[in-house]
Subunit: 488 residues, 2 copies
């Protein structure tokens, strides 16, 4: 083909439009790659100079340079000298590899995956009355972003580096968090005892791997937090499910019935809401010290209390370094931040760090530095205060709305938290109630869903992520279902 004929052909083949969402450079790269993959451009074929092609296509030269560079980087084009670009010799192999990839992908798709494929790319957020969900609209995102920008600016990109020294977290965050936990929860700790984790779930999983071996006995609350059950079971532990009463978990004397680890949510038992009495806290801690049992104290939402301040943390009562205090920022700030922590007894700091190095090394640094600044600035406290106020109102709105109906729900524990558990008489099947609510668009788990062995029946309502209006509407909808009457 003569150069002129080539030019005409190219103009027929390449078609760029400014009306597309796709940038001109990406359009050009994709079309050129198609030509190579389809064989219309073969190995060694020269391409016009970027200046020439830009003029032909009436686009800026940078557009062409970009497209060429991308295809060079992907191996489709070769740049032998400063200005000459050719289809690369490996383009053919890349082409057949890409074709094979496409064909095999297609074949796999036709073998319709047994894989769960979520439809939505973005979370729609929780439906009423999904438990344990903060209202992300209350979060001071603009301030957070400003603090993030400032942290990046003042540290001259040092936050971008690999930082294996920070395997347990960014030091200023650990320092600020230690101060907060000491002051507000009486947690006995130095900053270096704190391990920052990906949510509290990672802390539980790593602790399971560190502390438990096949067949070890673990005491779990029943009903209880299923994420913890899964963590302990993944290490091969045997679960002993303990009942809950108004004073919290009912447990045998550890001296008589030994366990390797006790998992407990003393501030507000999850999901019932009962608080572990001071007498039981002391008995449990002393038993653990005497028998060298580990206690994992999961303090997942003690900041949200609306009436009385909470009892001292178990960790603060521990004289023998047996309590590991676990917490999270998912509920205080926003869930997708995925920052949690464990306060480790001194003897566990090194082994935990060693395991975390293997498990993922350190976590993302920029978020941790932002959170350190958020704690430092006092914004953290203002935010908790704002949430506490809103959540107290929402709890009241929920209880007021539900009082207008006559469902046999007994809300025993109302002093705080993000959820209210309505206990049901034994004649009511909470799973059936929950399923009927689900069909009506309400997300209200049954207490039985959190139980590994039979327990009291009830429904668990989260109220924190919903406005009073949403709450009232949700309750009205629930009341209209007449759940207390059998379905026909």
């Amino acid at each position: 083909l003569s150069p002129e004929a080539r030019q005409v052909k190219r103009r027929q083949i390449l078609f760029l439009t400014r009306k597309s969402d796709v940038s001109l450079q990406v359009q050009l790269a994709v079309q050129l790659k198609d030509l190579i993959q389809s064989g219309q451009l073969g190995a060694g074929d020269p391409l016009p100079s970027s200046r020439e092609l830009a003029a032909e296509l009436k686009v800026s030269r940078n557009t062409v340079v970009y497209a060429y560079e991308r295809l060079i980087s992907e191996g489709y084009l070769n740049s032998r000298s400063r200005s000459k670009v050719f289809v690369s010799d490996t383009a053919r192999e890349l082409r057949s590899a890409a074709q094979r990839a496409a064909q095999r992908s297609k074949a796999q798709q036709q073998n319709s995956p047994a894989v769960h494929v979520p439809k939505a790319s973005y979370s729609d957020g929780p439906k009423p009355f999904r438990p344990c969900q903060p209202d992300v609209q209350l979060f001071p995102l603009a301030l957070w972003n400003r603090l993030r920008g400032r942290a990046l600016r003042t540290t001259n990109r040092s936050l971008l580096h690999y930082n294996s020294e920070a395997v347990l977290g960014f030091r200023p965050l650990r320092e600020n968090l230690a101060a907060y936990l000491r002051d507000s929860r009486g947690v006995v700790c130095e900053w270096w005892q704190i391990a920052i984790t990906t949510g509290s779930q990672q802390a539980l999983y790593l602790l399971a791997n560190l502390l438990l071996k096949q067949g070890d006995r673990v005491y779990m609350e029943n009903p209880g937090y299923s994420g913890a059950v899964r963590a302990w079971k993944s290490a091969g532990a045997t679960m002993e499910h303990l009942p809950i009463d108004a004073q919290g978990m009912v447990f045998p004397a550890l001296e008589k019935a030994a366990a390797a680890l006790v998992y407990v949510t003393p501030s507000r038992q999850f999901p019932t809401g009962a608080s572990l009495s001071l007498a039981r806290r002391l008995a449990l801690v002393n038993g653990a010290v005497n028998t060298k049992t580990w206690i994992v104290e999961d303090d997942y939402d003690s900041e949200f209390r609306y009436i009385a301040p909470p009892l001292p943390s178990m960790q603060s009562l521990d004289s023998g370094n047996r309590v590991i205090y676990v917490g999270t920022f998912s509920k205080l700030l926003f869930p997708s931040l995925r920052l949690g922590y464990a306060v480790l007894p001194k003897s566990l700091v090194e082994p935990f760090a060693e395991l975390k190095t293997i498990a993922e090394d350190h976590g993302p640094m920029i978020d941790q530095a932002t959170l350190a600044a958020f704690l430092d600035s006092g914004a953290f406290y203002s935010h908790i205060r704002r949430c506490r106020k809103s959540y107290a109102e929402r709890q009241q709105a929920f209880l007021d709305a539900i009082a207008k109906g006559s469902l046999p729900l007994d809300f025993r524990y109302r002093d705080g938290g993000m959820n209210l558990t309505g206990f049901l008489p034994e004649s009511c099947d909470d799973l059936v109630w929950s399923a009927r609510l689900k069909r009506a668009g309400l997300d209200v788990p049954a207490l039985s869903q959190y139980a590994s062995v039979a327990t009291e029946r009830g429904l668990v309502f989260g109220f924190t992520a919903f406005t009073p209006t949403q709450i009232r509407r949700g309750v009205e909808k629930m009341l209209s279902l007449r759940l207390d009457r059998p379905m026909l």
Copy 2:
């Protein structure tokens, strides 16, 4: 005390200054807490109204409201009615808990921790010639931040929600990454086969837990990546260390010497830089398919090649779904982002998701959405191009500088990557050389440090994080040490 006397006393005790870095509200909260903790304010003592105290201290009323709210939230104060604030009844217990905490912390400190306490809060960045470090100054941080802001704005905070559907990652990121891997590396995959992880290290650790059991045999390259060795060992596997030659890893026929898993860095063997030949790739993949062996292909920096495009990925040659392709953005973007990924055979997608749910649930969403946009915008490709150009220059600067000396370093593999391995004659002890370089402020690991069994000797130089000037100075310093002469 009369109200007036109280007022005088308060003014003597509370002292706020605008000259401090600490905000007025934090100063006030801390001082009030001190008064309570020291017993100067006792349970039930009333505090002045916020209006009154603000006027006395000449600060805004909000300052006082904030301080009160913080202390209410921490349990030190109680607000019985709209305007009256008292020292809470539990203040005494909190006080003694805080005192105990402080005392025990002090005692722990005096027991001087055997814990490694890093001094710096911020990473100073790598020293020459630390391997595998990108130049974070090249990263388009301003653009990244704009994309992040846009992702947050256009999704109306849905990125902040808890999102258990995204346990394997944010869907648009998985889609964009699948397209990139198909096009540039011939990786055969659909988006739902991709699992986003906290760096590639988490992928290795979860795969170890998923695929290996006590005593399983794993083939590892020697020298090789120690993070991988640690992951396999943590699952109880037995290592078989295989040597490296100019065609990459030397391995026995899997049909004759079976293993549960083979770990390999075919694009550029870490740390020597040798590329696995096509013949060996085919032999290894076919052997794995025949014997149902897992292959973990770690493609940690194949984007940085300066001469020829790389051979097709092992995954693209795999006809039996035995290859797990692992990659990372730590080296392409910046290390502290901590985003890596694994491309899983269909059969592993569900088990991996299940394990990841237990291990940490999903990772932080905002970074993943930003990365999805970064890939989408084409900025990803421009950035790789910019880095490749700089890094090629730096590699040349390094080789030019070192050619001026006469050290017996043999740089065999120079076609790409972030590191250059200089092999040494057997008479030179690479550990001694590395130690001498370290004392001179240079971070140059010995090849032996990456080896589990005896191997060739050499030094591993990273050149990507340093400017040509830094590189020349570093090499000059090294040459001035006369490493080839014995120390006196």
